[in-house]
């Protein structure tokens, strides 16, 4: 699914990623953990094509195609999805219109017919209900006046509608209470299958109790310093990153 080799990236000429190697096979969920400032969010942004990051070395291929050469919308069309850590507010843009525009853009690129307003609303209402989102969230402006938890659920709603092949969830669990956390995890679990993979960026073991990863990677100062099974997350929860930071120093 995803192959990252020696990936290095900088913002304003300041290196953030310093040679990442990572393979996420089809159907697997991998967690990325690490202290603040280690480059976790940058990895998500670079993979999804944010323009202010400059890739200085390495490669990233997605189902065999060179990801780094593509426009953000082409990456989305190919099946990549980034759930934002801080979802962006779009004043003046109706959430339902936004979701339908996005879904139809993706459907067009897949050669599928576009959904009209009625077809779309039926689908969106069903998905929103599964995520325990009130109907009026579809009528409001995108993320404007949403609570932190509502914004995160709106991200998961987008993911559920767009049905990506690879989802990158950037701290989607932060700011969620236990119930919301479970709903979000269930949303991701519902997509799991041989043709869906996920890269879950998180600070906490908690999410991984509900969304059990195949592999856990620790990102430190722009490099993956350790990888392991789900038990690695439990170990980090107990002992923190102190030992790893000491090892790296």
């Amino acid at each position: 699914m995803l192959e990252i080799r020696g990936l290095a990236a900088a913002i304003n000429e300041k290196p953030i990623l310093k040679g990442i190697d990572l393979t996420v096979p089809d159907g697997e969920v991998h967690a990325i953990m690490g202290p603040n400032g280690s480059g976790k969010s940058t990895l998500g942004y670079v993979l999804s094509g944010r323009e202010d990051y400059a890739v200085t070395a390495g490669s990233a291929t997605f189902n065999g195609i060179d990801l780094l050469d593509m426009e953000p919308e082409a990456r989305a069309a190919a099946g990549l999805f980034l759930a934002f850590q801080a979802p962006i507010e779009l004043p003046g843009v109706n959430n339902a219109n936004f979701l339908r525009t996005a879904l139809n853009a993706i459907r067009r690129s897949r050669g599928e017919s576009e959904l009209d307003a009625v077809q779309f609303l039926k689908l969106a209402r069903a998905e929103a209900k599964r995520l325990a989102m009130p109907d009026d969230m579809l009528k409001r402006n995108v993320n404007v006046g949403f609570s932190g938890g509502e914004k995160k659920r709106n991200e998961v709603l987008q993911m559920a509608l767009l049905r990506p092949k690879l989802a990158i969830l950037d701290e989607t669990d932060s700011g969620l209470d236990i119930d919301a956390l479970k709903i979000v995890a269930d949303g991701v679990n519902a997509l799991r299958g041989p043709e869906f993979s996920a890269l879950v960026i998180t600070h906490h073991q908690r999410l991984l109790d509900h969304l059990v990863p195949n592999r856990v990677h620790v990102l430190l100062n722009g490099q993956i310093v350790r990888s392991g099974g789900p038990e690695l997350a439990k170990e980090l929860e107990k002992r923190g990153y102190g030992d790893l930071i000491a090892e790296a120093a």
Binding site: E71, E73, F84, I88, V93, F98, A105, I106
Partner: protein, 432 residues
């Protein structure tokens, strides 16, 4: 024939005996125009109100008043986004009853029937009964002086007290490289209602210099929506005077899309207690277009409200101008005035000039103004694109969102949808 002010004055001298109405008023206007000239023209004096908009290009353009039409008015009309409502059509500044659709054939012989019957208003021709009204000051406004000097035709629209005239369209089509000076008067009796939708379009390098005088009586409500989509080489100058009496409302929205140079000037006077004026506008400009929205709101009675939201979307090397003055007279206590001008620059070469002015002589008032200038938000663009929305579509969504606040002020859903189509059409043209 000369160009510029001299050319217009020569024409006045040659046609003055054939012009309808008060010849002394026209002579006074000609004197004023002779003194002031065209703002920015070589002989013109500098005028503060025209600081950011120069009519030099207009002064250098030769208008051929007697030229045969080069374009078919019928074809241009057929391509306009018309509403299913009565329409009054002017071609090259002259009323065309055969293209108009009205109900009252006695008022306008030759006009076709409207699909939505309305006898709630009447129309007369300026050419038949010149009505210069009482609201204009040609000595202060050179283009109003020019209009007063040369006006030949226009609509005199009257909605009697207590009547709701629904939507009436007032359409201007230009078909030749000439100058036109329509003169309109709109009168709403007490508690009358009207939604006036104006469209200006055409083909060629012409000047449309319109003056409209609007009287809103006690408790009456006029919705005035304008779509200026003139030809790319055209000049469009429009000056509107609105007088709003007690409890009356003048609610206007102007969408400026076309013309090489456009100046929309509105003078709204709130002269009865509890009157309201909404002067909202959007200017969408590309290439080297120049769009100027200038307003003067005079609060002369207590408890009046004025609202102005003006949005500019500027691409290419275009230049937007907003000048807004709020005057509050000594007795106009409890005045509530608000003014906001915002510009979205889509190119590093686009420019906006903003000049808000507050002139307050009462002590118990609430007046505020603000201005913002920005580019498309990079985070918002990335968010949309990361959801698969192509770049051009993402820009269109954000531009539309930027205009929302101004467009949402248009309460009539039919008219708002119609304006949104015009915005979408503009965007498609820009993206093409």
């Amino acid at each position: 024939m000369s160009t510029g002010a001299a050319g217009f004055l020569e024409r006045y001298d040659s046609v003055l005996n054939a012009l309808p109405g008060d010849s002394a008023l026209r002579a006074a206007a000609a004197d004023a125009f002779r003194t002031v000239g065209l703002p920015g023209g070589t002989r013109g004096r500098p005028i503060e109100a025209w600081k950011y908009t120069s009519l030099r290009a207009l002064a250098e353009t030769k208008f051929h008043r007697d030229a045969a039409p080069r374009h078919e008015a019928e074809t241009i009309l057929a391509n306009l986004p018309l509403l299913d409502a009565p329409r009054i059509v002017f071609v090259d500044g002259v009323l065309r009853a055969d293209l108009s659709v009205m109900l009252a054939p006695s008022v306008m012989p030759g006009a076709g029937p409207a699909s939505t019957p309305s006898s709630a208003f009447s129309v007369a021709r300026f050419a038949d009964q010149a009505d210069f009204g009482t609201l204009t000051w040609p000595d202060r406004e050179p283009m109003v002086a020019l209009n007063t000097m040369l006006a030949e035709d226009g609509a005199i629209l009257h909605v009697p007290a207590g009547h709701d005239a629904g939507i009436v369209q007032l359409i201007s089509i230009a078909t030749s490289d000439a100058d036109f000076h329509p003169r309109h008067t709109i009168r709403l009796g007490e508690n009358a209602r009207l939604a006036l939708v104006e469209i200006a379009a055409g083909q060629g390098a012409y000047l449309l210099n319109t003056v409209a005088e609007i009287h809103v009586a006690d408790g009456a409500a006029l919705t005035h929506v304008r779509l200026q989509n003139e030809a790319a080489m055209a000049f469009h100058v429009s000056t509107t005077y609105a007088d709003v009496q007690a409890g009356g409302t003048y609610d206007s929205f102007t969408l400026n899309i076309g013309a090489r140079l456009c100046r929309t000037e509105v003078h709204a006077q709130l002269s009865g207690a509890g009157a309201a004026a909404h002067l909202n506008a959007a200017q969408l400009l590309v290439g080297s277009q120049h769009g100027d929205f200038t307003s003067v709101v005079s609060h002369t009675a207590p408890n009046c409200q004025s609202r102005q939201t003006v949005k500019n979307v500027l691409a290419g090397r275009s230049r937007g101008v907003f000048q807004g003055r709020i005057e509050v007279a000594r007795g106009a206590q409890k005045t509530d005035g608000y003014q906001m001008n915002q510009a979205l620059l889509l190119s590093p070469h686009a420019e906006i000039d903003t000049k808000p002015e507050l002139e307050i002589f009462a002590d118990d008032v609430k007046c505020s103004h603000g201005a913002t200038v920005g580019e498309l938000d990079a985070d918002q663009m990335f968010y949309l694109r990361s959801r698969g929305v192509p770049e051009a579509e993402a820009r269109a969504i954000l531009v539309r969102a930027f205009l929302t606040e101004a467009l949402d002020a248009v309460t009539d859903e039919t008219i708002r949808a119609w304006l949104e189509n015009a915005v979408a059409g503009w965007w498609e043209k820009l993206a093409a």
